[in-house]
């Protein structure tokens, strides 16, 4: 076979693969938007759910999901920045570098249900917190740590060493170098990672269903150790009532709300990435 033919066959295969992937995505999103928009309204967004979700809206589910992700963000962001800065500026030893890499990648590979079980055993049972949105936030925070750490670490690591040396040679202390040169970059990279992590966290069911959420009868939590309801667990419970057409309709509506929230995070992350790829050191 001559090279030209090979090339064009290969090109076609790649195109086909891309078309299948994009086709599935477009199909899913179209169905979701079509079904979803039929069942949502302003009322749906601001009223509480009734009759196990088959009637009413998803107000407290939205509140719960936002609360969980916000909590995860507040906990994981500073931890990740600290870890990323420590890893890039203080860990000189090669073995320790490999060790931290291994930890991050293993953490990233753990299935989300394991985080759920971990939270159940450690917090709910051992520390006796009960089902709590705060614990859910902590678990989601741990789950997205690798994403935020890596994204922040990569942006710190891409600062050429000459910037550190120039700053040091002007008599800055190591801490001043971190504050003025490293930290701004760590924040901007970490924030992109945070948005990506949150896009994942807000859609997760498994880590929170045993430890943070209740399926019905939940309003605003009165304290840290109270359950909330959330969009993904709400969708799960509606799907279990799939024989009831009202429940199914509300499941589509809730799914659309969830996917719009996910998109808002991913698209902001994408836009930030575009902006920062222009701004080079």
């Amino acid at each position: 076979m001559d090279r030209k033919l090979k090339n064009s066959i290969f090109k076609m295969l790649i195109w086909a693969a891309a078309c299948v992937a994009i086709g599935i995505l477009v199909f899913l999103i179209t169905v979701l938007f079509y079904k979803g928009f039929q069942s949502i309204s302003v009322d749906f967004l601001i009223s509480e759910s009734k009759n196990f979700g088959s009637e009413g809206g998803v107000f407290y589910q939205i509140i719960g999901s936002v609360l969980l992700t916000l909590c995860a963000a507040i906990i994981s962001f500073p931890l990740s920045l600290g870890f990323a800065i420590y890893k890039s500026e203080y860990v000189k030893n090669k073995y320790l570098q490999n060790f931290t890499d291994t930890i991050i990648y293993s953490l990233n590979g753990i299935p989300s249900i394991i985080f759920g079980i971990f939270g159940l055993i450690l917090f709910v049972n051992f520390f006796n917190t009960g089902v709590s949105w705060f614990v859910g936030g902590i678990i989601l925070a741990i789950m997205i740590l690798p994403t935020v750490i890596l994204s922040s670490y990569q942006s710190i690591n891409s600062i050429p060493n000459s910037y550190r040396e120039n700053a040091l040679s002007l008599g800055l202390t190591k801490w001043q170098v971190i504050k003025t040169v490293i930290f701004p970059r760590a924040i901007s990279g970490g924030f992109t990672g945070l948005l990506l992590g949150l896009a994942r966290a807000i859609g997760e069911t498994a880590p929170i269903m045993f430890i943070a959420t209740a399926f019905s009868g939940v309003t605003f939590p009165n304290g840290l150790f109270e359950p909330v309801s959330s969009l993904p667990t709400h969708i799960l419970s509606l799907a279990q009532q799939a024989t009831n057409p009202d429940a199914l309709e509300n499941a589509w509506g809730s799914s659309l709300v969830l996917i719009l929230l996910v998109f808002s995070f991913s698209i902001s992350a994408f836009v930030r990435r575009l902006q920062y790829s222009k701004l080079k050191y």
Binding site: Y163, N166, S169, L170, G171
Partner: protein, 269 residues
């Protein structure tokens, strides 16, 4: 009697001048790689002390040992003595930030921070002392003038420093270093990434700056050494082959290797 007094004064003055930076038996290794071998030399005050030698000979390593910017290199092994104003630099608990304020450094390729021109000049000094707006303005003007950059940038101080040409960026780096008020300027091939016109601007600048500062310059460029050096140090494969005043080394070097290097640019060490 009077002449004796004068001689004594001269001696003590000379001593301070000649031993402003005094290096003895300096050995530097990276792991098992022995880079600098038993270097002993003195750099002189208010002179352009120029280090020349072939690539890989250890010139940068020597320079980077003087302000200990290589301190964080974990496989660095450094032995011997570097005295600055009769104080040992190579002690373990040396205050490195204080040392680096006194011994500034300009690197091979300019490295400006992604900030405005003005903020770049203030970058070091701002971290050392609290400055009023008026003080900032005068520091910016004074040091940009000292680095011969003021006329070119005075109307655009708030623009990004990245918008400057490479030659201008290098002078901005010099201004930034001068703003910290060092006594010594270490310059590692500061013109090697620059065009001839910017190079000349910086050479003129160095000639002017030596009245106030002591300059230790590394250069690859023998004709540059010939133009601006006062003292010349020839380092090859980690050893100091010969040092002395430029005129002596160029007209009458003691070592054959020095002659070969200075006149043919090749090295037979």
């Amino acid at each position: 009697m009077e002449t004796a007094q004068k001689i004594i004064e001269n001696i003590s003055e000379n001593k301070i001048h000649q031993h402003y930076i005094s290096i003895s038996n300096l050995n530097v290794s990276f792991g098992s790689q022995h880079i600098l071998k038993n270097i002993s030399l003195n750099f002189q005050k208010n002179k352009v002390n120029c280090i020349v030698g072939p690539s890989g000979g250890g010139k940068s390593t020597l320079l980077r040992s003087i302000n200990r910017i290589n301190n964080d290199d974990y496989n660095l092994i450094i032995n011997g003595s570097i005295l600055f104003n009769n104080e040992e630099i190579l002690i373990k608990n040396k205050d490195l930030t204080k040392l680096r304020k006194e011994i500034g450094m300009v690197f091979q390729s300019p490295c400006v921070f992604p900030k405005s021109i003005k903020e770049n000049v203030l970058f070091g000094i701002e971290n050392h002392s609290k400055l009023s707006q008026a003080e900032k303005d005068s520091i910016v003007e004074e040091n940009l003038k000292a680095a011969s950059l003021w006329d070119e940038v005075s109307t655009r101080l708030n623009e990004s420093a990245k918008s400057l040409s490479i030659g201008q960026q290098q002078r901005l780096c010099i201004a930034r270093t001068l703003a910290v008020k060092p006594k010594i300027l270490l310059m590692d091939e500061p013109t090697s990434s620059l065009d001839p016109i910017s190079t000349e601007a910086i050479e003129v600048l160095m000639n002017r700056l030596k009245a106030e500062y002591t300059i230790i310059l590394v250069t690859h460029n023998i004709s540059q050494a010939k133009r601006i050096a006062d003292e010349l140090y020839f380092i090859c494969e980690g050893e100091l082959i010969e040092s002395g005043s430029k005129d002596v080394l160029f007209s009458n070097p003691k070592k054959e290797q020095t002659r070969t290097y200075l006149f043919n640019g090749t090295c037979n060490c």
